[in-house]
């Protein structure tokens, strides 16, 4: 016998079937297109932003994430269920498309049938299994959402519609198949190539042929109506993520990661800065809201949310969408709320995990810019004092600028004003210059450089704050003024290479300064020292150390430097016990995003929470690579009452203690 089946069996292939079916399809697709055109008009309220450059790379990235479900699968269980459902559904979509192509085009016009023989057997069994997998995965997701809902997972009408509609579409598909097989294939060798359909056929076969034919016809039209309803509902429900989330991969920020947009301060026409109205955000900021699937992976990882602060990155994105679609004149600061906006530490945990590639941090900073630049507002008087201190003395600590290089006076290193002929410029940063605890780190770094025979210089009182905390707080004006002064000084000395012990300085010099004409290569000390050890210039005597390691947000997620610091710890003889939340999942110390200048007034203290995670490893030393982290942990061990059992240290310190 020939292995194939009659398409449009029982429903007929005449005008009475085709005309209403195609009319219905046309209307459904028309409504789908109209729905998206209406949404596109809403996106277009936003400011322009070029996200269509480097299209080759963009398309590759989109295909990788849509077809392989890479980002989605980063959270294993729901990710796997979604992935399998997606692949199953994609196969069903392709299968149905092949049927349409054969029945209404190749066969109708050219008498060509390709759904025959072995290909038909493969086709049949593939679609059967795909349908079964889809039902199983959808069932799993349904049970997870409705019976074992993870904390904080928002469930709305959309979710009920999506689960219900898809489930009924899949089940009716098998009923149609079962009816057909019961009448035409039972007892033939073809039947086993539709195993699910076969089971369904055996279940239904008692109805008798008349009943089966009637049931088949009714279910066929019902199934068709549901599929058309599905198309119509795509732009109107969370189904839209099929298009919007996929497109968001295409429009993703290709990096450098989280580089902020420079405000043009020379533009005398500009009378507003930052965003307090949805029309002052970009189209992508609005689009992001449409790409969000409310999976709350961002919220799960947000250090603010996890310490009872009102910030949920997901909620901010959703609120921007609500404003863009329904309340365009709303004041964004009031809608989202000041406490929410100030709570962000820009740790990037939200963006790193987001399976829809939504960019949360830029939005929050854009609104903070409006708060600072247009309203002169800060999260507290202490922050305003730190800003003013930076204006006057070039550091947020308010210490006289002339003392900036005093820590290095007896170390045998010179400032570039004394001797500019150096291998590297050490950009010290404010904390390592002025804060007693962090001066120890700076001294350790110098000791290591000297042991390796590297000639290192500093700027001394000519160095200023890199401006990172100010910029992240929204004070673009102050950031640019200190940045420009730093850049001019470094240019005047013909600096060839810069090394930093502060990941915030590193990130700022390496990314932000580039927009202001700074071209000198910049390295984190972890990478720099790693290279000195690798080339044998720096010799370290390994000595055992019980430790855990905290990935700072700005070395880790913001710059993907995870292994270099671990290499240094290994070289020092550190027995590293990782915390549960490490590398890209590391939990912030609380001091990013300019929060180092602010008091933490709401909820549990983030640094204490992180210190407790370190305590849980049983390690004696908590290593980090960042002056802000070190400061927060020195405070955190006291808060957690573990200052006797857990010592916070910088990696540079344990290396300096082990110089050969």
């Amino acid at each position: 016998m020939e292995f194939t089946r009659e398409i449009y069996w029982n429903v007929g292939h005449g005008a009475w079937t085709l005309v209403p079916m195609y009319l219905f399809a046309l209307v459904a697709i028309g409504l789908l297109v109209r729905g998206f055109l209406q949404r596109i008009a809403v996106y277009k309220q936003g400011l322009p932003l070029n996200r269509t450059d480097r299209m080759g790379r963009r398309i590759r990235y989109m295909l990788q994430n849509v077809l392989l479900q890479t980002k989605v699968a980063e959270v294993p269980w729901p990710g796997l269920l979604h992935g399998l459902f997606f692949w199953g559904f994609a196969l069903l979509f392709i299968g149905t498309t092949l049927i349409v192509i054969q029945a209404d085009f190749t066969d109708l016009l050219f008498d060509v049938k390709f759904l025959t023989g072995s290909f038909y057997k493969l086709f049949s069994i593939t679609l059967d299994i795909a349908g079964l997998v889809c039902i199983a995965m959808l069932g799993g997701l349904l049970v997870r959402r409705y019976f074992f809902a993870p904390e904080g997972l928002p469930t709305k009408n959309d979710d009920a519609i999506m689960h219900g509609l898809l489930l009924i579409i899949l089940v009716t598909g098998f009923i149609i198949e079962g009816c057909r097989i019961a009448v035409t294939e039972l007892g033939t060798p073809l039947a086993i190539w539709s195993p699910v359909g076969l089971v369904m056929a055996k279940f239904l076969s008692g109805m008798g042929e008349g009943g089966l034919l009637a049931m088949h016809k009714v279910t066929w039209w019902f199934h068709l109506s549901l599929v058309m309803t599905f198309f119509i509902l795509i732009p109107l429900t969370k189904f839209r993520h099929i298009f919007t989330t996929s497109s968001n991969y295409l429009f993703a920020d290709l990096g450098p990661k989280n580089k902020l947009v420079n405000i043009d301060l020379e533009n005398e026409e500009a009378d507003t800065f930052g965003a307090n109205n949805i029309k002052q955000m970009t189209w992508k900021d609005i689009f992001d809201a449409d790409a969000c699937t409310l999976c709350k992976r961002c919220q799960d990882r947000c250090p603010a949310w996890n310490t009872d602060k009102p910030l949920s990155p997901m909620k901010v994105v959703v609120q921007l969408g609500e404003v863009a679609f329904a309340n365009q004149d709303a004041n964004l600061i009031d809608t989202i709320g000041r406490d929410v906006l100030w709570a962000c530490t820009t740790c990037r945990a939200c963006q790193e995990i987001c399976p829809a590639k939504i960019e949360h941090i830029g939005k929050i900073i854009e609104i903070r810019r409006s708060l600072v630049l247009m309203e002169g507002e800060f999260p507290g008087d202490e922050v305003m004092t730190a800003m003013e201190a930076t204006e006057v003395n070039g550091n947020p600590l308010g210490i006289g600028y002339a003392e900036r290089g005093d820590w290095a006076v007896d170390l045998g290193i010179k400032t570039l004003s004394e001797d500019a002929d150096v291998d590297v410029l050490y950009f010290v940063g404010c904390y390592a210059s002025f804060d007693k605890r962090n001066i120890a780190v700076a001294k350790s770094f110098i000791k290591l450089c000297q042991a390796a025979g590297v000639k290192v210089g500093i700027l001394g009182k000519e160095e200023k704050c890199c401006g990172e905390p100010m910029r992240k707080m929204g004070n673009e004006y102050l950031y640019q003024s200190v940045a420009v002064e730093n850049i001019e000084v470094m240019k005047s000395y013909g600096v060839k290479k810069v090394v930093t012990t502060c990941p915030h300085c590193y990130n700022t010099l390496e990314k932000d300064f580039r927009d202001l004409g700074f071209e000198v290569p910049v390295e984190s000390y972890t990478v720099f020292l790693g290279e000195l050890i690798r080339t044998g210039k720096l010799r370290i005597d390994a000595r055992e150390l019980s430790c855990t390691y905290h990935d700072s947000c700005y070395l880790g997620r913001h710059n993907d430097i995870y292994e270099a610091p671990r290499g240094l710890i290994e070289a020092a003889g550190g027995k590293l016990v990782e915390m549960d939340k490490n590398r890209s999942e590391a939990f912030c110390c609380s001091a990013g995003g300019g929060r180092i200048m602010a008091e933490e007034k709401i909820g549990e203290r983030i640094n204490v929470k992180r210190v407790k995670m370190a305590v849980a490893t049983g390690a004696e030393t908590l290593l980090s690579n960042c002056p802000f982290c070190l400061t927060m942990f020195e405070d955190g061990v006291k808060g957690a009452g573990v200052e006797e059992s857990l010592r916070p240290k910088d990696i540079a310190e344990i290396l300096a203690e082990r110089i050969h």
Binding site: F273, E391, G400
Partner: protein
């Protein structure tokens, strides 16, 4: 309404101070400069009053070299309308009577309704200028003001006295007000206002046009207080600390004898 607010540019108090070559004032090297703290309250109060009465013009006055214009720009960014820069490269050497004389000379024919000054400067700290200006102009003055209201020509102010006591004072404008910590929280200038400030009028007047009075006092000598005793902070390992402490107690005291 015409408002005058007088400000001074002073070194940041966190700076490393050194005595200058003449030995009568601090050296100007390695200093960071800013607006005198009390003058910030004066500027803020002037701008708040302007915002209250709407129809007002605020002039900010500052005496000093070209360098003080930076500080004046901050006052303009905070909301003052125009700047009067009294160009004087040797302002630091002038005593309060001369400074007040310059300000009074400038203000004499301009019919200011209210003059705001800081209570005192952070560097010289004489607390005389505002009150002398009032005397020279024949105006009433209210000093050490921590609360200020204005309605239809009447000023009601609270003055801070010793021991937390406050005095309520009522005075008719024109008057001179000297501002104390606690009066208000000076605003952080917004970026559009910083930009606008760059275009505001900022005229320089040579100091000799306005200096009509002679000095009545001079600074004989400036010096750091002699170090007497003071505290000693010991740091380091606990065992070493104990040894150090015992050594000190033996050498310097009789408690262990």
């Amino acid at each position: 309404m015409k408002i005058l607010v007088c400000i001074k540019q002073v070194p940041d108090m966190e700076s490393k101070f050194k005595i200058d070559a003449a030995g009568t004032w601090y050296a100007k090297t390695d200093l960071a400069w800013r607006m005198n703290e009390y003058d910030e309250y004066a500027v803020e109060q002037a701008v708040q009053l302007k915002e209250q009465v709407k129809d007002a013009d605020v002039t900010v006055l500052c005496i000093g070299s070209d360098q003080v214009k930076e500080t004046m720009k901050k006052a303009l960014a905070m909301g003052c309308d125009r700047g009067a820069h009294i160009a004087d490269d040797n302002a630091g050497a002038k005593e309060p009577f001369q400074i007040a004389g310059i300000i009074a000379e400038y203000a004499r024919d301009k019919n200011f309704d209210i003059v705001f000054t800081g209570l005192q400067s952070q560097d010289r700290g004489s607390a005389q200028v505002g009150i002398l200006v009032a005397e020279m102009l024949g105006l009433p003055s209210v000093s050490t003001v921590v609360h200020f209201t204005y309605a239809e020509g009447t000023i009601e102010a609270k003055r801070e006295l010793e021991g937390g006591v406050k005095a309520c004072v009522k005075v008719q404008a024109p008057a001179v007000i000297t501002c104390q910590l606690g009066l208000n929280t000076p605003r952080y200038p917004t970026l559009p206002n910083i930009m606008k400030a760059k275009k505001k009028e900022l005229l320089s007047i040579p100091v000799q046009d306005l200096l009509k009075v002679d000095a009545r006092q001079e600074t004989a000598k400036m010096y750091f207080p002699e170090k007497k005793g003071g505290g000693l902070v010991l740091e380091g390992d606990v065992a070493e600390l104990a040894d150090k402490l015992i050594r000190i107690l033996k050498e310097k005291t009789a408690v262990l004898a």
